[in-house]
Symmetry: C2
Amino acid sequence: MKKQKISDAVIHRLPRYYRYLDDLYNKGVVRISSHSLGEKMDITASQIRQDLSCFGEFGQQGYGYNVAELRAEIGHILGIDNDHKLIIIGAGHLGHALLQNFDFAKVGFHLDSAFDVSSTLIGDEINGVTVRSMDELDDYVAQHHPNVAVLTVPQHVAQPLADRLVALGIRGFWNFTNVEISVPEDVYSEDIHFVDTLLTLSYHISRTPQE
Amino acid sequence: MKKQKISDAVIHRLPRYYRYLDDLYNKGVVRISSHSLGEKMDITASQIRQDLSCFGEFGQQGYGYNVAELRAEIGHILGIDNDHKLIIIGAGHLGHALLQNFDFAKVGFHLDSAFDVSSTLIGDEINGVTVRSMDELDDYVAQHHPNVAVLTVPQHVAQPLADRLVALGIRGFWNFTNVEISVPEDVYSEDIHFVDTLLTLSYHISRTPQE
């Protein structure tokens, strides 16, 4: 299928499309109209048609979208079938929570190791994943070639750790440290800013219903 | 100070401004030019000047911004001084991680209680906060009037729990359940979509450096 250049705004919305289509797919829904999908997602049908037209000819007048097909195509665009290998750096409370609860495989990430500096955590097995010593990191990465690292470490080690991981060949960061890290142009960091989201919440509840 | 209507795009950027200004403030920086702030934040000086002009007359030609003043004003707009009271529902791994590591007070939220259904967690004290039984929730909210709830519970209980909390008077949700919850118009939910951010990361690393 021929694809045109996809805008940042559309890329930003793709994961949400995928999430909704995945849910419909798992519920056994075969097709859905842009109107129904729009109602679920609280966006207009025309916005959906415009966004999805970037990926090719999906919807059919009077039929709607084939859920399995569209889900697979959006998943493909998102790189879900690229078999990313991921490691978690920092097996404290947050790292532990991700290891325990987050379904990495569902979004195409293979997780097989976590690392920590704490001797009380090293050797633990959490949800089938072994926590290794940071001393083993270089050898492990050289052997297993993970391409993504989750950073659940204290803020002050975020940047030196990122530098070390980039040098080892890591190309993507899922960064929970609440500080922005500097990475080379061909490396990407997705930052989870807990503080920003809580401040946004504060903004909104400080206004409604008075304003 | 007179304020004009602030656009969604600007609101979206405010927490990041606040984060940078707070960092500068804590480092003792007294003033900063839009040029220097822009370099730090990787945005243009003119974008900054345009954004900040929404809040009044801050920058001065040849002087720049007064860091403390601008930080306080943006904090005020974000509602940091509104003394939000927050409860955490779900003291499992993620709730525990937030209780242990997240500095709620720094962004103007007062946290004094967490709730769970698990008898192994009820009665625990985490970072000075007691985990209570969900059976105590109604009485607690009636007495202490928290206005924000953090949802760190399993997906299938997210919506019924949100309905219950809205009925009790909760006006804001910090929602970590990875499902979107329906709330009345005068209630606001800020959703942390771990899945979406990881898919965005997948998108970007699936492309660079080939494309």
